[in-house]
């Protein structure tokens, strides 16, 4: 079917030359003349754009004059030392939670794909619980953990007790927040990593196995490096998302982060709206920086499989002419 279709196409092309259809005029050197045609116009796009710009200008002018926004207070608190410290805390929450989340996610994904049914089941159970419950609820839970577990009991469960040791250590709320956020994040990272690992051609694992490499060697040296291309871009998204999710640590309740601090200040000054704007501007600033980073990451990793890699690796003996010959043969 497709074969005959293609043949028809070629024949049609061939006969068009022979037929009396107008043929392109050629330049003196025989090349066909470049096409000069009247460009298609889009009047409606321009009209809609004009309306939108007008609406935006009106909104900005109006907002600038509205008392409730309290722009003077916005200016006053934007670089308030309490706010910038809180911004730092938010960054720390984000970084710690992401790092732990990524590492734990990698472990969970590898467990999920391992040939060991016990590891598989553990990973599955973890994902089921942490993806199946809201992160806000999880954070409330972690905040109450010291009420639930406050003793270590040594003995035979339900039968005999030898010793009861009270837990006197009260974990800092920052610590609890990081635990809550990262354990939840790990479940999502595990799915991202799993998709990445599965994206690697099974032939790669087969080749490594045939060379006598162990399962773990195969993972570490062959599968994981190749999966990074698929894993890294969505991980950037997760970082941006995590930055905003940190506002939920209020559930713990931890209040030294950007949003918590902004609310605390506004509770004293009775100026909630300017402080909301201050917090939003900071979040917007961080996410913008991250989005720029994300853009470059995606560009770096969306490149056609392996083109653009350095021509020379550990064997530094390639003459340029030979290298060119080799590249010329690329399928």
């Amino acid at each position: 079917m497709s074969d005959s279709h293609r043949r028809d196409g070629t024949d049609g092309g061939g006969s068009a030359v022979a037929s009396g259809l107008p043929s392109p005029s050629s330049l003196p050197d025989g090349r066909p003349e470049a096409i000069k045609a009247v460009k298609l116009r889009h009047p409606w796009r321009i009209a809609v754009a004009v309306v939108l710009v007008v609406l935006l200008v009106l909104f900005v002018l109006d907002a600038a004059q509205r008392k409730a926004f309290g722009w003077a207070d916005v200016g006053k608190y934007l670089f308030d030392v309490r706010i910038s410290q809180a911004a730092l805390v938010t960054l720390e929450l984000t970084v710690y939670s992401m790092v732990i989340g990524v590492v734990l996610g990698l472990v969970l994904a590898i467990m999920r794909l391992s040939p060991n049914p016990v590891l598989k089941a553990v990973s599955w159970l973890y994902l089921w619980i942490f993806r199946g419950t809201p992160v806000y609820v999880q954070l409330v839970f972690w905040g109450l953990i010291t009420l639930i577990y406050n003793t270590i009991v040594i003995g035979i469960p339900f039968v005999h007790t030898w010793a009861v040791i009270p837990i006197t250590w009260v974990p800092p709320l920052f610590f609890i927040s990081v635990v809550g956020l990262s354990l939840n994040e790990a479940a999502y990272m595990a799915e991202i990593v799993r998709a990445g690992l599965l994206s690697v051609d099974p032939g790669q694992e087969e080749a490594a196995k045939a060379l006598g490499m162990s399962w773990w060697q195969t993972m570490r040296r062959v599968v994981i490096p190749q999966s990074m291309r698929v894993i890294i871009p969505p991980t950037g998204n997760e970082v941006i998302s995590m930055l905003k999710t940190t506002t939920l640590v209020a559930a713990v309740p931890f209040t030294l982060d950007l949003f918590g601090r902004a609310r605390d200040i506004s509770a004293e000054t009775f100026t909630p709206i300017p402080l909301l704007i201050v917090a939003s501007l900071w979040y917007l600033f961080f996410t913008s920086v991250l989005m720029v980073g994300q853009y470059f990451l995606e560009r770096r990793f969306a490149r056609g499989t392996d083109r653009g890699r350095p021509v020379v690796g550990i064997g530094v003996d390639v003459e340029p002419s030979v290298a060119a010959g080799g590249v010329g043969g690329v399928r």
Binding site: P115, D201, G203, Q204, E206, A207, A208, K209, A210, L211, G212, M213, S214, W215, Q217, R221, V222, P225, Q226, T305, D306, R307, R309, V311, V312, G313, I314, G315, V316, D317, V318, E319, V322, A323, G326, V327, G329, V330, R331
Partner: protein, 270 residues
């Protein structure tokens, strides 16, 4: 005189040790209800080049994969170099090998795939040195020296720093052969090594395989290159529907097939 004849002469001395390299006895394998190998019995002598042909889905790849235990067999016995593949026999009972033990068996068996399966994130040289360094613990400088030697042997001495994507299919397949040879295998399995190549690139790969055969390597080659089978092969096996329909001297089988199915298949591919 063909390459096979020449080798047959040099081999007579080695034949004193009669232990076959591959000894398959009634090997059977099913995927679910699909019986892919039905009681395959065959023997590959040391230094022998056995070519396997047959229509798509006849179980050729599966048989190769069983030989290095990438698939486990359901019935029969499969020995490589006198050792049971994938199991240990003790007191009339079979025990499954641990993954580490299976890996130990596999590293002596080289495998070359239809789609090369080179590691794309490593250079040609790194592809070749990876397994000796990681699996055998060969010191890096030794592995690199040997890797360069092997790449030179397959005609790619000047391409050691290239990534697979910078090599043509034929060059990639030759790197894959060098990679398998780097583990000093006693047996090489080739699964349609030239089927994914443009016709003008097939020759280089076959030349490397011919050289390997002349050096005395034991090889099982699934191929559709009848010229190679005729010239280099010591024996030819025709598989169809999971059974060996016909086997024997390649020149004889190709010129005068005894079975109707063989004749029908050959008339289609020749």
């Amino acid at each position: 005189m063909s390459a096979a004849d020449r080798r047959a002469e040099t081999r007579t001395a080695a034949d004193a040790a009669p232990l076959p390299m591959v000894d398959a006895v009634a090997v059977s394998k099913s995927f679910g209800a699909n019986e892919v190998l039905k009681s395959i019995t065959l023997r590959v002598r040391r230094g022998e080049v056995m070519c396997v042909i047959g229509p798509s889905g006849s179980g050729k790849s599966t048989f190769l994969r069983c030989i290095n235990h990438l698939e486990s067999i359901d019935a029969g016995r499969l020995y490589v170099d006198g050792e049971l593949v994938g199991y240990r026999q003790k007191g009339g009972k079979l025990y499954e090998l641990k993954p580490s033990e299976a890996a130990l068996q596999r590293r002596d068996i080289g495998m070359v795939f239809q789609h090369f399966n080179l590691f794309p994130h490593m250079t040609a040289l790194e592809n070749v040195t990876e397994a000796p360094i990681r699996v055998k613990g060969v010191p890096r400088h030794e592995a690199v020296a040997r890797g360069r030697e092997l790449l030179a042997r397959v005609g790619l001495g000047s391409h050691s720093g290239h990534y697979p994507s910078q090599l043509s299919g034929g060059q990639q397949q030759r790197v894959a052969i060098a990679r398998a040879l780097a583990m000093d295998p006693k047996l090489m399995l080739f699964d349609e090594p030239t089927s994914a190549l443009d016709p003008e690139l097939v020759g280089d790969v076959l030349d490397v395989m011919r050289g390997l055969a002349e050096s005395g390597m034991t090889m099982v080659v699934v191929t559709h290159e009848m010229g190679f089978a005729r010239e280099v092969g010591d024996s030819l096996v025709f598989m169809d529907g999971g059974v060996i329909v016909e086997s024997g001297d390649p020149r004889q089988v190709l010129a005068d097939p005894q079975q109707e199915r063989t004749r029908a298949f050959l008339s289609k591919v020749l």
